[in-house]
Structures are given as C-alpha cells and as structure tokens.
C-alpha cells in the first residue's frame, strides 16, 4: 500500500489557493491554440470547463452521449446552489461553508480542496447572474436565499425548483458561444468507451458514434473527465437512464485510482417505488424539508388502518403522530443531513411504521406550512414539485401528505484526484461528480452544483495550465498511432464479444439484478456478512453476464441495447469494487453505515484513528484491486462526533 499525496500547497488553508494561483505556470495565448483538450461530459462541470478553456484559447473537443449538451443530468437538480455570500447577514463566511462541508462529509474530505471550493463559491453566483441565470429575488430586486440541510445559515441560491436547469442552461450558453466562436467542437451522441495513454500520459479517447456505430479516435494533450455520477449501479436511482461510469471506469482500468467507491448518498425525499416495471426514481427536492414535516403514525394500529384506507392521514390526531426527526434531532429537526434523514426513515419503516401500500414510505406533510404561509406562498415555492408529484402518484400534496422514501441519488466516490484535480494518470483530470474530491462520506444539499461549477469555471482552467505549460512543444497527436490502434481494436473486440446472441436474458434483466444486490447489501446499511454475500452474488452475476446477453441489432448502427450492455458490464465490475471498499472500511461515516459500528442511539460511529483516510483503489486485473491511502490531516477543523441534536 502506497500513500497518496494530494500535492496541496503548504501554508494555512485559507491561503493555499491564492498561493497556488500565484505560483502556477501559465501558457501564453499563442501556445494555447496549439494545445488540444478533450472534455468528456457537458454537465455543469464539463460545460463550464469546456467553455472556460475554449475562452482561454485552447482547442477543445467536448463529448456527450445525449443529442445536445443541454440535456446532461445536471439539468435535473432542483434545490439550489450554495455560496458563502452572506447576503442574509446571518453570519456566513467562506470558513463556515468550509466547516459545514467538512462536517457534513463526516470528516472524510480533504481540507485544502474544500476550502478552495468555499472560497470560489461566491464567484460562481456572480458569473451565473451575469450569464442571465434567473435566480429567485426579493421584491427589492436583490437575490434571496433558502436554507438547506446541514447548515444553520441561509446560503442556498435557487431558481424555483429548477436550479440545476437554469445553471446548466447558463453554462450551455457559454459553451454554445465558444462553439460558435470555433474554440470548442461538439461531439454529441458519442459514447466515450476508452482512454488512450501514450508514454503513460493521457492523450486521447475512443468513442462510439451512437448513431452510426462508428468507432472514433480523438487525440489531445490532456483529457478531462466530467461524466457525472454512477448511482445507476443500483439500477433504480434518481439519475438519468443513460448515466454511466464507463469513461471513469475505463480510466480506472488504465491506471487512474478510484477513491471511496462505496460512499453513496441515499436521498431521503424521493417518490417511493411503485412496482416491478419501474425504471427510475424521482427526487423531490430537499428544499421541501424547509416547510414539510416528516412523520409516521406512532401506533401500529394506525399504520394498519391507513394501509387499508380506513382512515386518511389527516385523520390521525397530532398526538398519535411520530415526527421522528423533530423528536430525535431537536436542533436541526427536519433539516438534518441527508444520510441521517434517510437512515431514520429506514429505521421507522423497518420497525413496521412505514405507510403506503408497500409499507416503505413516510409522510412529508405540508398542512402546517399551508396554514402558516398560505396556499399561494407554498405554491410559489414548490408548485412545480407538487405538480410533478401529482403527475406520478395521482395525489395532490395540497390535500394529503406526500409519501417519500430514500433513494440513491449521488455518489461521493469517484476518480481520485490531487489538489489540481488530476488523477493518478498524468494529463487526465476528473471534475464534477465523477471525482471523489469534496464531499467526504456525505454531500450536503446544494453543494454538488457548487462543486461542478467551481471545478469547471474557476479551478481547472488554472490547474490544467500548470500541466500544459510543459506540453507546448509536444506536437498534435496522430490518432492513427499504434496506441490508438490498440485501444480502438480493444473497444471493437469488446463490443463484438458482448454482442452474443445465443444468450437468454436481456441487459435490463442483469442490471435489475445487480441493482437489487447493491441496494440490499451495499445500500443504506451494510454489514460484513451481507457484503460478503454481495461479493459472491456479484461474481455469480458477472459469470452469467460473461456467458452472454441478448442484444438485438448490429454493432454498426444505432443500438441502445448495445450501449446499455457496455455500461452494465462496467457497473457490475464497479459494484464489486464498491462492496470491497465498504468491507474494507470498518467504521460508519456519512453515507457509509456499517451496522457493526454504531452508537447505542443508532448513530454512525466513526473510527478516526484507523480510517481518517481516503481509500483509493488501483486496478489489478478484472477481479483484483489494491488499496492505497491518502491520509487526511485536519489542521483547521477538530474532528468530533457529528451531532445534529
């Protein structure tokens, strides 16, 4: 086991970024034109990076699997984006945002990165407003804020329930401007399937044109991955149907380390599963917890009556309701961090107090808020969410409490990156949700949008220059070189081998099975026996998968089943690594809850002496991986047991 070094600058945490910027190498404008950069992904991270790098004068190629950059899954983010503006005069500061993020992440994130994130957060808001992002405003014309879980200040900027959409459209606009200017070339409907290394450095990618099936090679001086999170390893998640880990996973297989894969965020407020044909889960923004109160019946007898529809939720008297978050965490109440809220819901449902026909749901009740603030105010705050809920469930949250249950939502783990956001492969960067960097073992609400944009707009444009400054004499790469040939051939062979028509089951069948295993054994609560069981089941699943999947159609044509087949193959391998990582981490922290390690009150019990590190895995063949550690040093913040009581 080697120890990884993040290469953060020396000095006090608050001065590191300034020091870095002052000392990093720059590339002069003439040379930038000679340097090519590939950006995989057009979400907040990818679009902001591609636009900013194009603006600087680099020659950028940007890839996405959708038909247009604007559809990246960042579009679905609802609640908001954090920044330490302190517009509300409620005591916020970069330091406090930093502190909350480290604490929220249960002390498993790197101080230097998180401080930088908090530091640049304000610039993000300034830029987005200048781009025309219509954030919510007060009548006086100035920006307003809402509160989010895990913080005692109001620092979340939002655009009704569509913050991600508005931010992404801003970044998409900036990207479009660079495309029009000829600085960025867009490759849409492309599936990036492999990385190409030349002399150990990232020099290109292999992509499949999803319309024609053609295998394409693209060369560059540096490659930036921004392919989003891997929550779809659970099959059911709030991610988009096409969200996948493939670009990051192919990097892992080529030598980039994968950090904390088991750190998954289960979001407490999603619409519960309805049946077997279900294809995805829908998130109800966490902002709802500002006004909604979460409860289940206090008496099992009421649970029964509700399920048989003998009584309505509103018929249950106050005294017979258990507002379990308010009861257990009086200081934060319904606004405890996500992992805490999710586990509490699971705990109640496991104890038999769950509501709904399936018994795996809890109420999120707006009756009080509507009474207090009025129907119109609630409508203006959550109208579109209520509408979305009603469309899916056919019940109006104005009349009866919403039913919610936790669902997989975000993955804190990802490619290991150093302070410069570079992976362990030189010239390969990872930004946005696909890296592991800022959220430790649990991400606070409204922090992912902040991180994606911070990485893309304000961090990567500096740090990548520091690397590229040494590459100005490297000529453009020839995508016909032997390294590209080998990689392209490997991809072609892989596609051919996956397309085995003799098999009995379809890709979805395997994906669903993988999802069930992961949810059952590596979901909200984990234990050693279960994780070992999962290892066995995944190995079995992988064996079956290797024997063949039923895929209609050909390789050289539009073939969505073939796309899925590659993705699911990678998810199976990733699933195994997640389980290994969860097994390795004999403690509970944030979203990683090992049942063996909990306090007498059922709270997560960290083990800082042995596990205050980032676990980064190195690929060692298909079912082997080696763990490396990056020790986390907390110089600014004292480790303490997270308490939201």
């Amino acid at each position: 086991m080697t120890r990884l070094n993040a290469r953060a600058p020396e000095g006090p945490v608050a001065e590191k970024w300034t020091a870095y910027k002052a000392g990093c190498k720059l590339v002069n404008p003439n040379n930038k034109r000679k340097l090519d950069i590939i950006v995989v992904g057009t979400g907040l991270a990818g679009a902001s990076a591609a636009a900013s790098l194009g603006q600087l004068g680099y020659n950028v190629k940007v890839f996405c699997y959708q038909d247009t950059p604007r559809r990246a899954h960042s579009i679905a983010a609802q609640g908001g984006i954090n920044a330490a503006k302190n517009y509300q005069n409620d005591g916020d500061s970069a330091y406090r945002l930093f502190y909350d993020t480290i604490k929220g992440g249960d002390y498993r994130a790197r101080e230097a990165n998180v401080y930088r994130l908090a530091e640049v957060s304000n610039q993000i808001i300034d830029l987005c407003v200048a781009q025309g992002v219509p954030f919510a405003r007060e009548y006086g014309g100035l920006l307003t804020n809402r509160s989010f879980g895990g913080a005692q200040v109001s620092r979340t900027f939002y655009a009704r329930g569509q913050t991600g959409q508005q931010l992404l459209l801003g970044a998409y606009g900036a990207l479009s401007r660079q495309i029009a200017a000829g600085n960025v070339t867009l490759y849409n409907r492309r599936d990036v399937l492999d990385m190409v290394l030349v002399d150990g450095k990232a020099r290109g990618i292999i992509a499949r044109n999803l319309v024609t099936g053609e295998i394409e090679r693209h060369a560059a001086h540096a490659v930036v991955l921004a392919n989003g999170g891997y929550g779809n390893v659970f099959f059911l998640s709030t991610n988009a149907m096409g969200s996948n880990v493939t670009p990051a996973w192919s990097a892992y297989k080529k030598g980039a380390m994968f950090a904390n894969p088991s750190f998954t965020q289960i979001h407490p407020t999603c619409i519960p599963v309805h049946g077997d044909a279900q294809s995805k889960l829908t998130l109800m923004s966490e902002s709802l917890r500002n006004d909604g109160r979460i409860w289940v019946p206090a008496k099992l007898k009421d649970v029964e009556r509700l399920r048989n529809k003998e009584v309505k939720p509103s018929d249950i008297p106050e005294s017979d309701r258990d507002y379990y978050l308010e009861r257990r965490y009086p200081a934060f109440g319904n606004l405890v961090p996500r992992d805490v809220a999710s586990r509490a819901a699971k705990e109640r449902c496991d104890a038999g107090f769950g509501v709904g026909t399936t018994g795996v749901a809890v109420y999120l009740d707006f009756a009080d808020a509507i009474k207090r603030k009025g129907h119109d105010t609630i409508d203006s705050l959550y109208g579109n969410l209520f509408q979305m809920y009603q469309q899916i469930v056919a019940e109006s949250p104005y009349e009866t409490p919403m039913m919610i249950y936790p669902a997989v939502h975000y993955t804190m783990g990802g490619l290991w990156v150093d302070y410069e956001l570079m992976t362990t492969i030189p010239g390969l960067y990872a930004i946005g949700e696909c890296n592991f960097s800022d959220h430790g073992a649990n991400r606070l609400g409204a922090s992912a949008l902040m991180q994606g944009l911070a990485d893309g707009y304000f961090v990567l444009p500096y740090t990548i220059g520091n690397y590229l400054a040494a590459e100005i004499h490297t000529p453009r790469f020839d995508p016909a070189s032997s390294e590209f040939n080998t990689a392209a051939q490997a991809v072609t062979d892989r596609l051919k081998s996956i397309k085995n028509t003799g098999a009995k089951e379809s890709v979805d069948h395997f994906h669903r099975r993988l999802g069930k295993i992961m949810w059952e054994y590596c979901g909200m609560a984990r234990n050693e026996a279960g994780l070992n069981e999962a290892l066995y089941l995944i190995a079995e699943l992988r064996g079956e998968y290797a024997r063949g999947v039923k895929i209609p159609g050909g390789v050289n044509e539009y073939n969505p089943e073939l796309e899925k087949a590659c993705r699911v193959a990678d998810f199976i391998d990733l699933g195994e690594l997640m389980v290994r990582d969860a097994l390795q981490r004999s403690e509970s922290c944030g979203g990683h809850f090992r049942e063996e390690y909990q306090t007498s009150e059922g709270e997560a019990l960290r083990n800082d002496d042995e596990f205050a590190f980032v676990g980064a895995w190195e690929y060692k063949g298909r079912d082997a991986a080696q763990l490396h550690r990056e020790e986390l040093q907390f110089k600014e913040i004292k480790l303490s047991q997270r308490s939201y009581k």
């Binding site: 038909d67 808001i125 025309g132 100035l142 029009a180 039923k550």
Partner: protein, 257 residues
C-alpha cells in the same frame, strides 16, 4: 391494461419507414408511458425482434430528450407534461395508441421515433446567450432586477428544448422555442446589452434551418410541456422589429495590430 400500439418504424435516416402494429398486455395503469414501451421492447428483444428506439433520459420531465407524437399530439393527451411524465392512467384498456416521431424538415428522423434536433443547438449558438467571460463580472447584487421581470424571465427560461412546439405547429415553426430564449434574456438587464443583435441573429439562423413561419395558431403553447406563453413570441417580434428599425448599425472596426 391491454393496448394496441401503432408505431412508426424506420431503420435509419435514409431507410423507408412505416407504421407497424403491436399488442401489449398486462400494463399497470400506474406505470409510465415509457415503462409501457420498455415492456414492449423487452418482449421484442426476447422474441428476437428489433426493439423500438425512442429518445429518453431523465424520465422526470426536465431534460427535454423525450419526443413522442402520441395520438396526434406531442407528448400525448395530458397538458403540461412531457412524454416521460405521462402515465398509463391517461389511457383506457383496449385503446389503440398511435406513436410517431416529431415531423419537421429541420428535425430529420434518425431511427424509429428518434429525430435530430441539433437545429436547436445551432439557433442557440447563433446568439442565445449573454457574452460574458468566466471571471471579471460584477458582484451578483450590483444590478437589482425587479422581481416581476426576473420571474417572467424565469418562466421563459424553463423551456426544455424538447421541440414539441415545432412538432405541434402546422408550419413546423420554432418561434416558441426562440421566443422563449429571446424573452428570457431580453427581460434581464444582463441580457439587454446585446438584445438587438441576438434576436436578429437567432431569427436569421432559424430561417436558414428551414423552420416555418408563425401563423399564430398557438398550437405550440397548447402543447408546450412547460407552458411557455406565446406572449414570448410577441415579445420577440417586438424586439426584432425595434432592432431592425432602430438598432445602431454594427461598425466593423479593424483591430490595429
């Protein structure tokens, strides 16, 4: 539920296509329209057939990928929802459902129900943004924006770029899509600076791409899943007219080296 589906099948952009009939059975009224199509596709795959391709991604009505023309209406019979938000409870047992791709010269079919909407990207590239660089912008609260304006801009900005407006329009016009973007930016002080240039460039691009003219039938508004108002089209017309009539002529000044 048991249903008969009549679906447009077309192997590739250049192939001939036709409507093909399929039966599906045992569909839950609570499942979504796409889950119903998933069921059909699973059946087709298992029986050695060719599954129906359709565009979809977020399945929660925000990415704008989904694009089905169902029984003569883009995004199906419900108002204000996308195809992916459509649930089978909107149909009756025994129904026949016609499913077609968006039809427009500017949106050629790629495969089955999938069309190429990159024309929308081109229109945005023609000027659907505020030309600010990363870095060097003023504090976000420097310019107050009246809440009403900001809210109106937001309403226009919620367009998801799905193209239902084009699909619904008898002229395959893209005026609602462009009107929404022009309005969003023209309503904000940040966007006003280059408003005159923007609207002219975007409209010119739209014309070039072969979209139709606006006949003000308002089918777009009726079918837009985000309820974008046609008042945005009027605003665009206004912006366009005043730009054509009053905007300063752009002077090309050679940068001296």
């Amino acid at each position: 539920m048991n249903l008969t589906l009549k679906i447009w099948r077309q192997k590739s952009a250049t192939a001939e296509g036709q409507m093909v009939s399929y039966d599906v059975s045992g569909i839950s009224a609570d499942s979504s329209f796409f889950e119903m199509l998933d069921t059909l596709n699973q059946k087709l795959i298992m029986s050695g057939g060719d599954p129906v391709s359709f565009d979809h991604d977020c399945r929660e009505g925000i990415c704008g990928t989904c694009s089905l023309y169902i029984n003569g209406r883009p995004h199906g019979p419900e108002k204000g929802v996308t195809t992916c938000q459509l649930h089978m409870r909107s149909f009756k047992d025994g129904d026949t459902i016609h499913i077609e791709p968006w039809r427009a010269r500017a949106f050629p079919v790629i495969s089955d129900l999938i069309v190429d909407r990159s024309a929308f990207d081109k229109i945005i590239q023609a000027g659907g943004y505020v030309s600010v660089n990363t870095g060097g912008v003023p504090d976000a609260n420097t310019i107050p924006v009246p809440k009403e304006k900001s809210d109106e801009a937001f309403d226009a900005a919620t367009c998801i770029g799905c193209g239902a407006c084009v699909a619904a329009c008898s002229n395959a016009a893209a005026m609602l899509f462009i009107g929404a973007k022009v309005s969003h930016l023209a309503l904000l002080p940040q966007g006003q600076v280059e408003a005159a240039k923007r609207v002219q460039q975007m409209v010119a691009c739209m014309d070039e791409l072969g979209f139709g003219n606006c006949s003000n039938t308002y089918a777009c508004e009726a079918e837009c899943p985000k309820g974008i108002s046609v008042s945005n089209i009027a605003r665009m017309n206004r912006e366009f007219l005043s730009a054509k009539l009053f905007a300063e002529k752009e002077k090309i000044i050679q940068d001296s080296l």
